[in-house]
C-alpha cells in the first residue's frame, strides 16, 4: 500500500516549545493557553482512488458534496421548467400528463429541499469551511466523513434510479402524506415510493455520520484562542443547523420506516379503513395525521437547517464586503441559537387546516410569531452592518443584497401564514408556494451564489469574472423576483397549489396572462445559470490568479499556508487566534482589517474594542 499516515506528533511539541521559548520576549498580553490536544494524525492518500475518490480530506469531501448536490439541483431545475411549461402553456408539451406533472412536483420539492440545499450547505460548505474556520487540520473523524459522502452519493443514485423504474418516481407530493402516497393509483406508488423512502433513510444515516463530525469538530477541535464567541457566524449557522438536523432527522427516519412497513408488509400505522374503487382495503385503524406530525417535526426544523447556514454565511459576506464589523455579533449568535431551539416548537403551523385538534392552533401560532422576533433581529443587524460601512458593490455584495430583499419579503409572508386564522384562506394555495420559494428557495440560493463568488478564489486560486457575475446576478434576481412576487396574488385569488391546470373557474382564467409571464421568467432564471457555468469554465481556463486573501478578510480560511489550502490546512503550525473575525476598519490600524491571528501586541495603538 502506498498510502501512509504522516505522524505529526512532533509538530505539537515544536509549537509548545516555541510558546515557552517566546514567552520571555512576547508580551503577556499575547498569552494564549497552550494546546490541550495532541496533533491530529492525518491519512494521506497517494493513489487516485484514495486522493480523489475515497478521499478523507474534508475539503475534497466538501467539493464532492457540493458537486453532487449541484447535480441534483440541476435535475430539480429542469423539473421546474417542465412544470412551468405545463402551467404557463398547458398542453404545449403533450407528454406532461397529470401523472407526470405530479411526479415532477414531488421530485422537484424533495430534491431541492433535501438533496440540494441541505447537502450543499452542510455537506458542501460545512465540510469545506468548518475545519478551516475553526483552525483544525481536518474533521475529527475523516474516515467517517468520507463514508458520509458516499452514503449520500448512494442515496442520490437511488433517488435518481427511481426515475427509471416501472411506474416512475413517486408523485405523492414532497410531503408524502399517507394514505395517498402508498395507494395504488398514485403515480409511482410501487417502486417509486419505495426507492424514495430507502433513499431518504440512507440520506439520514449518511448525514448523521457527517453531522457528528461537524459538531465534534466545532466543539472539541478548535485551535488555540478560538473560543465559541470568536467563531465566524458561518460556523455558528452551520453548527446550529447540524444540531437541528441531528434531532430532526430521526423523525423523518421513523416515519420513513413506518411508511415502508405499511407499504411492504401491510401494517396500518398511517392507514385507516379505506374504500377504493368500491372495495374496502386490508388496512384499518391507523392515523394519517400521526404521519403529518412526524413529518413536520422533521420538516419545520428542516426549513431552518437550510436557513441558518445561509444566515451565517451571508453575515460574513456582508461584513467582509462592507468593510465593517458585523453589527451586534452576540445578538446574531443568540438569534441563531434561539431560532434553532424554537424551531422545534412550531411544526404544527403546517397543519392548521389538517384536521388535527384545532385547539393546537393557539399554541403554534404563538410560538411561530415569537420566532419572528429573533429572525427580524437578524435582518436589522444585516442592514445595520451596511450602515456607515464602506460597501464594495461587487458581485458577492449584490447576492447579499438580493438575499436581504427576498428573505425579508418571504419572512413577511411567513407572518401571514403563521398567524392561524390568516393561514386559513391562504394555506394550500399559491400564496404558500410563493412564500416558501421566496424564503427558502430563492433567498438561500442567493447566499449560495454569493458564497461561490466569495470562496471560489480560495478553492481554486482564481477570481471569477465580475462582469459575467453581475449579469448572472441581475438575471437571476430580477427573474426570480418576477416569478414569485406576482405569484402571491394567485394565492389571494384562491388558486390551490399542486394544480396541474388552472382552467375554467372564472377568477382563475383571469390569471392566464400572469401564468405565462411567470413561466417565461422561470425559463430565464434557469437559463441564467449557464452564465455561471460558463464563467467557471472560463475562469478555470484563463481566469486571473487570485492574490492571497483577495477580499482582505480576517477569518482563518484565508490565512492558510497555501492558497488553495493543502491537506492539513495550516502547514507546519496551527494558527493561534487572538480576536473575533470582524475587526474591520478599526480606528488607528494601518489596514482596514486585522486578521484573527494578529496578536494584540501588534495593534496596541488601535482602538480594538472586542476580542
Amino acid at each position: 500500500m502506498s498510502d501512509e499516515y504522516e505522524n505529526k506528533s512532533g509538530y505539537q511539541a515544536q509549537s509548545s516549545e516555541a510558546l515557552t521559548g517566546s514567552a520571555g520576549s512576547a508580551p503577556d498580553m499575547d498569552y494564549v493557553r497552550p494546546a490541550e490536544l495532541p496533533e491530529q494524525d492525518l491519512y494521506h492518500g497517494h493513489t487516485f482512488l484514495t486522493k480523489w475518490v475515497f478521499c478523507q480530506d474534508a475539503k475534497v469531501i466538501g467539493v464532492q458534496y457540493f458537486l453532487t448536490a449541484v447535480f441534483t439541483g440541476i435535475v430539480g431545475l429542469i423539473l421546474s421548467w417542465l412544470m412551468r411549461l405545463q402551467l404557463g402553456f398547458p398542453g404545449l408539451a403533450g407528454f406532461i400528463t397529470a401523472e407526470h406533472y405530479y411526479q415532477f412536483v414531488t421530485m422537484h420539492g424533495m430534491i431541492m429541499v433535501v438533496y440540494f440545499l441541505t447537502a450543499l450547505f452542510l455537506g458542501g460548505f460545512g465540510n469545506y469551511l468548518i475545519p478551516l474556520m475553526v483552525g483544525a487540520r481536518d474533521m475529527v473523524f475523516p474516515y467517517v466523513n468520507m463514508l458520509s459522502f458516499w452514503m449520500f452519493f448512494v442515496a442520490v443514485a437511488i433517488l435518481m434510479a427511481s426515475f427509471f423504474v416501472p411506474g416512475g418516481p413517486t408523485g405523492a407530493g414532497w410531503t408524502l402524506y399517507p394514505p395517498q402516497t402508498i395507494l395504488e393509483g398514485t403515480p409511482g406508488s410501487g417502486m417509486g415510493i419505495l426507492l424514495m423512502l430507502i433513499s431518504l433513510a440512507l440520506f439520514v444515516i449518511g448525514f448523521t455520520m457527517g453531522g457528528l463530525n461537524y459538531m465534534i469538530t466545532v466543539l472539541q477541535a478548535r485551535t488555540r484562542g478560538m473560543t465559541l464567541m470568536r467563531m465566524p457566524l458561518t460556523v455558528w449557522g452551520i453548527f446550529t443547523a447540524t444540531v437541528l438536523a441531528m434531532l430532526a432527522f430521526p423523525a423523518l427516519l421513523v416515519s420513513a420506516i413506518m411508511m415502508t412497513l405499511d407499504k411492504v408488509i401491510g401494517t396500518s400505522f398511517f392507514m385507516p379503513t379505506i374504500l377504493k374503487a368500491g372495495e374496502v382495503l386490508e388496512y384499518g385503524g391507523g392515523s394519517p395525521i400521526l404521519f403529518q406530525h412526524l413529518f413536520w417535526f422533521f420538516g419545520h426544523p428542516e426549513v431552518y437547517i437550510v436557513a441558518l447556514p445561509a444566515f451565517g454565511i451571508v453575515s460574513d459576506l456582508i461584513s467582509v464586503h462592507a468593510r465593517k464589523n458585523i453589527f451586534g455579533y452576540r445578538m446574531m449568535v443568540w438569534a441563531i441559537v434561539g431560532i434553532g431551539a424554537l424551531s422545534f416548537f412550531v411544526w404544527a403551523h403546517h397543519m392548521y387546516v389538517s384536521g388535527m385538534n384545532p385547539w393546537f392552533g393557539f399554541f403554534f401560532a404563538t410560538t411561530t410569531l415569537i420566532i419572528a422576533v429573533p429572525t427580524a433581529m437578524k435582518v436589522y443587524n444585516w442592514i445595520l452592518t451596511l450602515w456607515r460601512g464602506n460597501i464594495r458593490i461587487n458581485t458577492v455584495m449584490l447576492w447579499c443584497l438580493g438575499f436581504i430583499v427576498t428573505f425579508v419579503n418571504g419572512g413577511i409572508t411567513g407572518i401571514f401564514l403563521g398567524n392561524v386564522s390568516v393561514d386559513v384562506p391562504l394555506s394550500d394555495t399559491y400564496f404558500v408556494v410563493a412564500h416558501f420559494h421566496m424564503v427558502m428557495g430563492i433567498a438561500p440560493v442567493m447566499v449560495i451564489m454569493g458564497a461561490v463568488y466569495h470562496w471560489f478564489p480560495l478553492i481554486t486560486g482564481r477570481l471569477l469574472n465580475e462582469t459575467l457575475g453581475k449579469w448572472h446576478f441581475w438575471a437571476t434576481f430580477l427573474g426570480a423576483y418576477s416569478i414569485y412576487f406576482p405569484m402571491h396574488y394567485l394565492g389571494f385569488i384562491g388558486v390551490p397549489r399542486r394544480y396541474y391546470e388552472m382552467y375554467d373557474s372564472p377568477y382563475m382564467t383571469s390569471a392566464v396572462g400572469m401564468n405565462e409571464f411567470i413561466s417565461l421568467a422561470a425559463f430565464l432564471v434557469g437559463a441564467a445559470q449557464f452564465i455561471l457555468i460558463f464563467n467557471i469554465i472560463k475562469t478555470l481556463k484563463t481566469g486571473k490568479p487570485a492574490p492571497k486573501n483577495p477580499w482582505k478578510a480576517n477569518s482563518l480560511e484565508w490565512h492558510t499556508s497555501t492558497q488553495p489550502p493543502e491537506h492539513g490546512n495550516f502547514g507546519e503550525r496551527l494558527p493561534v487566534v487572538h480576536r473575533w473575525p470582524y475587526d474591520f476598519s478599526v480606528p488607528g490600524a494601518k489596514d482596514d482589517f486585522i486578521p484573527q491571528t494578529t496578536p494584540p501586541s501588534e495593534v496596541v495603538h488601535t482602538k480594538v474594542e472586542k476580542t
Binding site: 397529470a98 405530479y102 408523485g171 407530493g173 402524506y177 394514505p179 395517498q180 393509483g185 385507516p272 379503513t273 391507523g286 392515523s287 394519517p288 395525521i289 465593517k324 464589523n325 453589527f327 455579533y329 387546516v353 389538517s354 392552533g361 401560532a365 404563538t366 410569531l369 422576533v373 427580524a376 433581529m377 436589522y380 445595520l384 450602515w387 460601512g389 464602506n390 460597501i391 464594495r392 458593490i393 430583499v405 425579508v408 413577511i412 409572508t413 407572518i415 401571514f416 392561524v420 386564522s421 390568516v422 386559513v424 384562506p425 394555506s427 394550500d428 423576483y481 396574488y489 389571494f492 385569488i493 384562491g494 390551490p496 394544480y499 391546470e501 382552467y503 375554467d504 377568477y507 482596514d592
Partner: protein, 290 residues
C-alpha cells in the same frame, strides 16, 4: 450606483403592482371578513416593514458605497439600539397575533344554531348529507358504503333514517344561517374549499373534521379541492348554491331521505349510481382534454 437604482425600481414596482393589480381576492361571501381584515392589517404592517428595510438598504448602498479614503465606522455593539428594535418588533408581532387568535377562537367555536352538513369526499368527488327532522346526523362507517347505502349510514342508528341525502356534487345552503361542515373521506386527504367563503379544512379518512361559516351572499360558488389527492386533484370540483330561506326550503323538500332510499331498494338505484360514476369520469376526461 446602478445597483441601488435597480433595487429601488424593484421596490417601487412591487408597490405599484400591489396598487394596480387586477388579481386580488374574490368578493367575500361569508362571515369571515375578520380574516380579510387581519390579512389587510398584516399586509400594511408587514409591507411597511418590507419597504422600510429595503429602502434603508438602498440608502446605505447609495450613501456608503466604497471609497478608497473612507473608513467604515467601528462599533461592535450598540445595546440600546438593539433593545429598542427588539421591543418594537415584539410589540408589532403581538399586535398582529392578537386579532389572529381572536378570529381563530371564533373559528373553532361553532355557533349552536348551525346546521350540520356531512360532506363526504372520495377520489374524486363530493356528496352531501343533511340531518332530517330530528336535527341529527346518523353515524356512519366506511365499510357500510355500498350502492344501496352511499353514505355508509349505520342501519341500526335511528338518527340516520331521516337524513337527507344530496347525491350531487352541488349543495344548497340557506343564506345567513351558519353551517357546520363535517368532513370525512373514504380514501385519501381532501379539502372542501370555496374561495369566497375563505374557510377550509382537510377531510381525513378515519376521522371527522369540521369547520363552520355563515354564507351571506346569495349565489352560486365553486368548490375546489385544496389538499392534494391524486391525479384528479385539480379537477375535483363541487358546487354551492346559497339561497334565500324560501327557495332553500323548497329545494330541501325535493331531496330524498335515507328511508326513501331504503324503501325503493331496487335495480334502479344501481343503474343511477353507475351512471353517476360514469359522468364523473367523463367530467375528468373532458377537463383533461380542454
Amino acid at each position: 450606483m446602478h445597483a441601488g437604482i435597480i433595487f429601488f425600481l424593484v421596490i417601487l414596482g412591487s408597490i405599484l403592482f400591489h396598487i394596480f393589480t387586477p388579481w386580488y381576492w374574490t368578493d367575500i361571501a361569508s362571515n369571515w371578513k375578520g380574516m380579510d381584515d387581519t390579512i389587510t392589517l398584516t399586509f400594511w404592517v408587514g409591507g411597511g416593514v418590507f419597504v422600510a428595510v429595503c429602502l434603508f438598504m438602498i440608502y446605505c448602498v447609495f450613501k456608503y458605497s466604497y471609497k478608497e479614503d473612507r473608513k467604515a465606522e467601528y462599533k461592535p455593539e450598540d445595546k440600546k439600539l438593539e433593545k429598542i428594535l427588539t421591543v418594537a418588533t415584539t410589540l408589532g408581532v403581538a399586535a398582529l397575533l392578537a386579532p389572529g387568535l381572536i378570529i381563530w377562537n371564533q373559528y373553532v367555536n361553532v355557533p349552536k344554531n348551525s346546521i350540520e352538513i356531512d360532506v363526504m369526499a372520495w377520489q374524486w368527488g363530493w356528496q352531501y348529507r343533511l340531518p332530517g327532522n330530528d336535527g341529527k346526523l346518523g353515524t356512519t362507517k366506511v365499510v357500510n358504503i355500498n350502492d344501496d347505502n352511499p353514505f355508509g349510514i349505520n342501519l341500526d342508528d335511528p338518527y340516520g333514517r331521516d337524513d337527507v341525502m344530496v347525491q350531487s356534487d352541488i349543495i344548497n345552503l340557506e343564506n345567513n344561517r351558519p353551517v357546520k361542515i363535517l368532513l370525512r373521506s373514504v380514501d385519501v386527504l381532501h379539502n372542501w374549499y370555496v374561495p369566497q367563503f375563505r374557510a377550509k379544512m382537510d377531510a381525513v379518512p378515519g376521522v371527522v373534521t369540521y369547520y363552520w361559516f355563515e354564507p351571506n351572499k346569495v349565489g352560486e360558488y365553486e368548490v375546489l379541492c385544496a389538499e392534494y389527492c391524486g391525479v384528479g386533484h385539480y379537477a375535483m370540483r363541487g358546487g354551492v348554491e346559497v339561497q334565500d330561506p324560501n327557495s332553500y326550503q323548497e329545494w330541501l323538500g325535493e331531496q330524498e331521505t335515507f328511508s326513501d332510499l331504503l324503501a325503493k331498494q331496487n335495480k334502479e338505484i344501481e343503474t343511477k349510481k353507475v351512471a353517476k360514476n360514469n359522468s364523473n369520469i367523463e367530467k375528468v376526461i373532458y377537463k383533461e382534454e380542454k
